[in-house]
């Protein structure tokens, strides 16, 4: 196409001309930031809100911060804290391992295995965690004797359900099972998000299936899995507070045991709140670190 003609714009050459505005030379270096009245207003609102909270905390005599301080590192509370951390860790590990198996089963080429996984996800995602804890705690009523063996055939070992199901095992089983379908779906979404081209490249290089999965697919999926998995662990941590209904003394349970004795309800709930916030902050920090580690190359 031709651009020659009397009206064609002058050809510009770097350095030959400068942009001008009504004769004055305009230069971005002379600019100042735009005025932002809303920004100042937002700061004022924030300062007022914080001041109000601080004033409330200082003036309220019902908060009893001295009681909070007294119990924050008290032994029963710290024992409960340990229980909460251990329960979260065990249920995360078991739930994720179980979830990984369920996920692989859902992606299996064998239809019956897929159906089993789909049913598993449907059931354990539908039942509220509180109901699951109560159910597993009362399992002995439904199944008095637990045994391992061949279905409808001989059994290799038998245990009384009443001996096996303690509050601790019921809590671990309930929370792990409740966690497993979420883990399965999170892992599946990560695995499916790995671009097809990556798998085709692995396939064309003749990489064995195991190496394709563990060295190409899983590391790339992990980057996608981590953020929702982090949220999942955090909600599991908070979910452990339900175990007090089956007579387990977790962080909340410990606080409750104290305040039923002393009637200092609010201060002890604040003790629990402070520890939950600390635990979640620690988990969040760990998650950020992992995310950075797995985002190399992106």
């Amino acid at each position: 196409m031709s651009v020659q003609g009397p009206e064609s714009p002058a050809r510009s050459v770097v350095g030959a001309t400068r942009a001008t505005d009504g004769g004055t030379t305009v230069d971005a270096r002379d600019s100042r930031p735009e005025r932002r009245p809303l920004l100042w207003l937002a700061w004022v609102v924030l300062v007022l809100l914080v001041a109000q909270v601080v004033a409330f905390v200082l003036r309220s005599d019902r908060l009893e911060l001295s009681v909070v301080g007294e119990y924050l590192f008290a032994e029963p509370i710290l024992d409960g804290l340990v229980t909460t951390v251990v329960l979260t860790a065990v249920a995360t590990v078991l739930g994720t391992a179980l979830g990984a198996l369920v996920c692989l089963a859902r992606l299996s080429s064998l239809a019956p295995v897929r159906y089993l996984a789909t049913a598993w996800i449907a059931v354990f995602r539908s039942v509220p965690p509180l109901v699951q804890l109560l159910f597993w705690f009362n399992l002995a009523y439904l199944v008095p004797v637990l045994s391992i063996g061949i279905p409808f055939g001989p059994s290799f070992g038998e245990w009384s359900a009443n001996d096996v199901i303690t509050p601790y095992t019921a809590a671990v089983v309930g929370l792990s099972l409740y966690n497993s379908p979420y883990s399965a779906e999170i892992i599946r979404s990560g695995l499916s998000a790995v671009p097809r081209g990556q798998l085709e490249a692995a396939s064309s290089l003749g990489l064995p299936g195991r190496d394709t999965f563990f060295r190409i697919r899983l590391p790339q999926a992990t980057r996608i899995i981590l953020p929702p998995m982090g949220s999942q662990v955090i909600s599991l941590l908070k979910g452990t507070s339900l175990v007090s209904v089956i007579a387990m003394t977790d962080l909340l349970g410990a606080a409750r045991e104290v305040y039923t004795r002393t009637f200092e309800v609010v201060p002890l709930l604040i003790v629990a709140i402070v520890w939950y916030i600390v635990l979640v902050a620690a988990l969040t920090a760990g998650q950020s670190w992992l995310e950075r580690r797995f985002s190399r190359g992106y």
């Binding site: 671009p195 081209g197 990556q198 085709e200 490249a201 692995a202 396939s203 064309s204 290089l205 003749g206 990489l207 064995p208 299936g209 190496d211 060295r215 190409i216 590391p219 790339q220 980057r223 797995f294 190399r296 190359g297 992106y298």
Partner: protein, 254 residues
């Protein structure tokens, strides 16, 4: 070396390949050209068994690809784990590079020889560095793919395929995703491979490359091989109307 007979491939309602015959001899450079949707990409993908063929057969060095004949004489499709050794003998270069995003450039090149061929890591790394030098990227070994330009990524992808010491190199539109000024560096590497008598099948829209480098040009249209021959003859005296139209459109565009 490669022998395809009556190859057919169907995607749902669409026939991508129909009755395709192709022979490639050792050291030959075959360039496949044709309009979009003519089935040329599908052909190399079928040869590399990224797609399963629906009709015909493909043999590499006399070995049936993707199938076996069992003791009862029944033809059976091989599972992926049994076709992997066959794929190792062919190197594939994709249009979209497909470098492993989470691995460094050097690791991209040595991962497969170690995992697939069982080469010792030290040996595979040394060879990876050699191959990267060869494609002019010896200094980029520690970079991640995302830090490279498209042309550089594609040169790494070529090095990665070569690291498997393939019998046959397949190129699926290797320059189609590149900015025009980056096409030359990739074609230069491919030219040097051709000069060393690497057996290659190249699917491309770069007709100039076909003219200069190909021993034989194959023109495909609507899933069939319409015409093939030495570049001089094919470009100089196209026999079919479809090739004439194709070449005419190309010269008009450029």
């Amino acid at each position: 070396m490669l022998r395809a007979r009556g190859v057919g491939k169907v995607f749902g309602e669409v026939t991508a390949l129909e009755d395709v015959d192709l022979d490639v001899t050792e050291g030959e450079v075959v360039v496949v050209i044709g309009p979009s949707g003519s089935g040329k990409s599908t052909l190399v993908r079928c040869i590399d068994q990224l797609e399963q063929i629906d009709a015909g057969s493909i043999e590499l060095d006399g070995e049936l690809l993707g199938f076996r004949v069992d003791r009862g004489g029944v033809l059976r499709r091989l599972p992926a784990r049994r076709t992997a050794p066959q794929r190792r003998r062919m190197g594939m270069v994709f249009q979209s590079f497909n470098l492993f995003a989470h691995l460094t450039v050097e690791r991209n090149v040595w991962e497969a020889p170690v995992r697939s061929l069982g080469e010792p890591v030290s040996e595979a790394r040394a060879r990876a560095r050699e191959l990267l030098d060869r494609v002019g990227l010896g200094h980029k070994g520690e970079a991640y793919p995302v830090q490279l330009s498209g042309g550089q990524q594609q040169r790494v992808a070529i090095a990665r395929a070569l690291a498997m010491r393939p019998r046959l190199m397949l190129f699926d539109e290797p320059t189609s995703a590149l900015d025009p000024e980056l096409v030359g560096e990739v074609l230069a590497v491919m030219k040097s491979l051709a000069q060393e008598r690497t057996t290659m099948i190249v699917v491309t829209h770069e007709l100039q490359f076909a003219r200069e480098v190909a021993d034989r040009v194959v023109f495909m249209d609507a899933g069939r091989v319409v015409e093939q021959g030495p570049p001089d003859e094919l470009f100089g005296r196209p026999q079919t109307e479809r090739l004439q139209t194709f070449l005419h459109r190309f010269s008009a565009a450029s």
